[in-house]
Symmetry: C2
Subunit: 165 residues, 2 copies
Amino acid sequence: MRRVPPGDNLPRWVCDACGEIHYQNPRLVIGTIPDYEGKILLCRRAIEPRYGYWTLPAGFMENAESTAQAALRETFEEAGAQVELGEPFSLISVPAVNQVHLFYRARMLSVEFKPGEETLEAALFDEARIPWKDIAFRTVALTLRHWFADRKTASFGFHAESLDR
Amino acid sequence: MRRVPPGDNLPRWVCDACGEIHYQNPRLVIGTIPDYEGKILLCRRAIEPRYGYWTLPAGFMENAESTAQAALRETFEEAGAQVELGEPFSLISVPAVNQVHLFYRARMLSVEFKPGEETLEAALFDEARIPWKDIAFRTVALTLRHWFADRKTASFGFHAESLDR
């Protein structure tokens, strides 16, 4: 049940049986922008939400790992791709769903990849062929737009922002 | 109790009474580096852990807010300070405690501040007077060191890293 624990100021999930307090804070979704000779690796989702839509490899950060480890793990789990991680590129809050999305730049170490369990197919796209109408999430579309815009200037920045409801 | 829900691959807290699954993912701790004419505002902690030690204003991001809103809220709650937020400055994973710490650059809009409920006292420090031996957390010390180093070069970067156990 939800109640305000002693010393707190917001209601939390508290287990009546064992007293465990389960704080529900925003979760980090972490992924990469895998670049192979200027093409970007996208995954078509085999799970809801947004089944069948295209996304960058990404997923929920797990306990006991760093943000960089989460990015590498998700890229391998979802796309079977080995990458060299670059700098963090975008950090986008999505308050409507209590998430923060973080994407790293990444260079694919080879052209090899294969879809994981949560992916229908994976494929490399150059800018002209990105399926903009079928991108799964606004944070992914925004990240890709920033990436292609920055590439034109040959200067990759760091993009922090928030998506309104 | 902890068990592996259907379709998952890690044990999660599942309520036997209502079936609610409480995922426990890393939490974001968000704060600022409040700058007033070159001095930095620090808070002495009135709570555990690290009671009595100095820290930057920061705290757990809450649901339904953005990272920037969390930074502003915590700065006001802990230090009573109104700031103009700058760019994200440091993003430091702490896998040992399942946390990710994010600090924003911030300019104090006035010299006014006052300690909040979780703060014994707040004070402005120039670089020579930072109480390095009494800083509460490694992420805060690291962030401050990056900040003063970057200020010397008049070029503030973005620092992403992970603290080993």
